[in-house]
Symmetry: C2
Subunit: 154 residues, 2 copies
DNA sequence: GCAGAATAGTGAGCATGACTCACGGTGTGG
DNA sequence: CCACACCGTGAGTCATGCTCACTATTCTGC
């Protein structure tokens, strides 16, 4: 049956999801980080200093959760809270030197990881793989939105 | 720079990981399940009734965690605890009727999902995609073990 | 210019899932 | 038959997530 090949392919995709997740979690733990806290650092890297409110929106998480994440990152010395220059209600979350260096090191690590995954792959297969991946992503983004609508909007 | 294409491909893979994770979490929540509890149900599906100790080993999780997962699944009526026929220390975790039906429904859902992802993809691209995916998985399995050794053995 | 609405952050309290440590009940090998 | 190993779980901890309530501030509309 042809559908079995699809099942097998989906199993492969799911295994990939698990392996990537585990690998990330493990390597982050070595830096004293968690996945959620790293997402926050990444967002900070992309946007520069941000208010916690903006972080909550960017991470699609409640404001309260951001308070907790920043608490943790502040305790472990990756970020610091600065007063907002014009809005005394808000705080600006900024990198410490250690935080900045850690994120830069992670970027280098990611580059190495990408190389390790793809560098030895024949160019033709790489192109075809990314094409297939892109097609799946497009499809997933579509149904992802479709499935969100009935249950919860947001 | 050629490495940028690898980075872009890795970004795609990471986006896939996130999308799949979110999709799974959402659809499981509709059934009153979580990812962890579903892993347990899956293991039960593959092996039949199991002791909690075996479940802990299969899920790569502490025995205490399994107690909590089974507690939850028992409360929501997916599994039940049965006395072990020969070892009075152990309990056998078995499906309830509802649990069995739910898992079977999930299997059908997975089949549909695989179809939805791949059925419209040209055969040639599908073959090439799965080939690339397989290559990456092989590589990841290798380094996954390699990376475990220095940090933690286990 | 000032009252009331909206916004920013956080305390309190809850659920889940992961861990360790300790402990009681049970099985088993010497 | 006794010491040791093993099964499950209570107790306590940590990290994420949530909501609700509250304070402090800012903005708006009259």
């Amino acid at each position: 049956m042809i559908g079995d090949r699809y099942i097998a392919a989906l199993d492969q995709v799911l295994e990939l999801v698990v392996l990537i997740n585990d690998d990330m979690t493990r390597s982050l733990a070595r830096d004293g980080l968690t996945v959620s806290r790293t997402h926050l650092l990444w967002e900070l890297r992309r946007h520069g200093p941000m208010t916690q409110r903006d972080l909550a929106a960017a991470l699609k998480v409640s404001a309260r959760t951001v308070t907790g994440l920043v608490d943790g990152l502040e305790t472990t010395g990756f970020v610091s809270r600065q007063p907002h220059p014009t809005d005394r209600r808000a705080t600006l979350v900024t990198f410490t030197e250690r935080g900045r260096q850690t994120v830069e090191a992670m970027e280098r690590g990611q580059r190495e990881f990408a190389h390790l995954l793809f560098a030895e792959m024949p160019a033709e297969r790489f192109d075809c793989f990314t094409a297939g991946l892109g097609e799946i992503l497009t499809r997933l983004r579509g149904i992802g939105l479709a499935q969100q609508l009935p249950g919860d909007d947001r």
